[in-house]
């Protein structure tokens, strides 16, 4: 079992199942936090992730689940490159907007929708890492998904993200309105440079 990646809440291993390569994502104990909180977060997130991936599997490009346990998920191994490690094209960012719109249409908020959680593969763009996702119809949660992406990409790319998002989600006006509201909250006022 080879460790191929590590995030703030899980370790990613490459394993072999019936001769095929697969990914094991395991949420390991974090010693810095209280045991009860640690267990609760790891369980809830594993559950949320498995549930969201299953719900999205027929409508969006997400890794297929092979098996899920209390703290770990075994899933299909993708061949590709994270968007954060590549020069993002406007076609890719438009695709990302469309995917987020679809998710929001299905009442799912991703919780960490950034180029670090989008993978460019041969057959297109995949969304990964649903550990912070939740089933919700909250416009605040949806707006935060957009805000996170807006902050992680060059400003020039954002308009095509917003455009394709709006085209794929009927509630986009309410979400974008809420986004404006969040950005007005004191500390998010336009970041004036030096």
């Amino acid at each position: 079992m080879k460790k191929v990646g590590e995030g703030a809440e899980a370790k990613i291993y490459e394993i072999e199942i019936f001769g095929n390569k697969a990914i094991l994502k395991r949420r390991e104990e974090k010693k810095y936090r209280a045991k009860e909180l640690d267990r609760k977060l790891r369980k809830e997130r594993t559950k949320a992730e498995a549930r969201t991936m299953a719900r999205l599997s027929s409508s969006l490009k997400v890794p297929k689940i092979i098996a899920a346990g209390q703290y770990s998920i075994i899933m299909e191994r993708l061949e590709g490159r994270l968007l954060k490690d590549a020069d993002i094209t406007s076609a890719q960012i438009a695709e990302a907007g469309k995917m987020l719109g679809k998710m929001h249409e299905m009442n799912i908020a991703h919780g960490d929708f950034t180029p670090a959680n989008l993978m460019s593969c041969k057959n297109g763009l995949y969304v990964i890492d649903f550990g912070l996702s939740e089933m919700t119809n909250s416009f605040e949660e949806r707006a935060l998904d957009i805000l996170l992406m807006k902050r992680s990409i060059p400003a020039a790319l954002y308009p095509s993200f917003e455009k394709s998002y709006s085209e794929s989600f009927n509630g986009h006006l309410t979400v974008l309105g809420r986004l404006k509201e969040i950005e007005k909250r004191g500390r998010y006022q336009i970041r004036t440079l030096g």
Binding site: G7, E9, Y32, R33, G111, L132, L144, R191, L193
Partner: protein
């Protein structure tokens, strides 16, 4: 270069003196926060009354004559307008009298920079936690040399949240380390935990904890609110470390004085084999030493300004301040 730094962004009037990167005096007077919190005009009045003698005391401590001072720094922001004005005016007056240049300093950057200095950190992920702010910072060189904010609170600062809860519990005193002291021996109760990538929020946690006052033991509540808030900060910090491939962690600002938080960050550092550093507590509380420290770098880097160009900016963001490269 002998530089004096003035700080008055919130409840503390601080004066620091630096010589060649070394803080040789760091004096302060702090406004006592009662049940009403901070009323800006009243705090400003307190600062005006204390400015002259704290400046004098710092010079005596450092064994420095006014005529020897070669530059002045003051906190330009962020902070409360009436409070900021006191250090700004004092700096202007001194600069005119001594005929030296002024460096307007960003308060948050000063906390981060003094921590980088004392914590012996080169290129860390810096967790800046105070009453008004909670940010995850990293140094970036584009489009100019600055601390970029890669994560921050969506609503209130973690220190403000803890102090508000202390006031709701009617603790005395209701600020600073009062929650930490009352958390001893507490058990964990589940409370709302909000992390979005590298951002976090605290109002939900405050509301729920306040609802539970009287229904749960005070020690349990204090322990759990702290544990939950700090775990969120730690998760965001760890995510930032891994995403940015950094190998050093720093913590600064008022809440950096909290030992539980430091222990948690230390545990993350240990797990990954990273370096963890922080400054002595006198620099985590508001102080003039850090302002003088950054002002000296700025003045040496040609970032000094004439008296006429020294403004204040109440919402001066961390990522809006250019860093002196030294």
């Amino acid at each position: 270069m002998l530089v004096i730094g003035l700080e008055s962004s919130a409840h503390t009037f601080g004066v620091g003196i630096v010589d060649g990167g070394k803080v040789i005096a760091n004096e302060k007077e702090m406004y006592k926060i009662g049940k009403t919190g901070m009323i800006p005009a009243k705090v400003a009045e307190f600062h005006s009354e204390n400015a002259a003698h704290v400046i004098k005391r710092a010079m005596q401590k450092a064994g420095v004559e006014p005529s020897e001072i070669e530059g002045i720094g003051y906190t330009m922001g962020p902070g409360l307008g009436p409070c900021l004005q006191v250090a700004q005016l004092s700096a202007k007056m001194l600069a005119k009298k001594l005929n030296v240049k002024i460096a307007p300093v960003n308060h948050c950057v000063a906390h981060a920079e003094i921590t980088r200095h004392y914590g012996k950190l080169k290129d860390p992920i810096m967790l800046y936690v105070s009453g008004g702010n909670s940010q995850v910072l990293a140094i970036e060189s584009k489009p100019f040399h600055h601390y970029s904010v890669i994560g921050e609170t969506f609503d209130i600062g973690v220190g403000n949240m803890l102090d508000s809860f202390a006031r709701n519990l009617e603790l005395e005193p209701a600020w600073g380390s009062s929650i930490e002291k009352n958390a001893k021996g507490g058990r964990y109760i589940p409370l709302p935990y909000t992390v979005k990538g590298m951002d976090f929020s605290f109002t939900g946690l405050l509301t729920r904890s306040t609802e539970l006052i009287g229904k749960e033991r005070t020690a349990d509540l204090c322990f759990s609110i702290q544990e939950t808030a700090f775990a969120a900060l730690c998760e965001a910090t760890e995510r930032a470390l891994l995403l940015r491939n950094k190998e050093e962690i720093g913590v600064c600002g008022g809440v950096a004085q909290n030992e539980s938080l430091r222990n948690m960050l230390q545990a993350i550092a240990k797990e990954h084999g990273y370096r963890f550093g922080f400054a002595p507590n006198e620099f985590n509380a508001d102080n003039g030493g850090m302002i003088a420290y950054v002002a000296e770098k700025m003045l040496l880097g040609g970032m000094g300004r004439p008296v006429s160009e020294c403004e204040i900016r109440q919402r001066y963001r961390t990522d809006g301040a250019r860093l002196a490269i030294r």
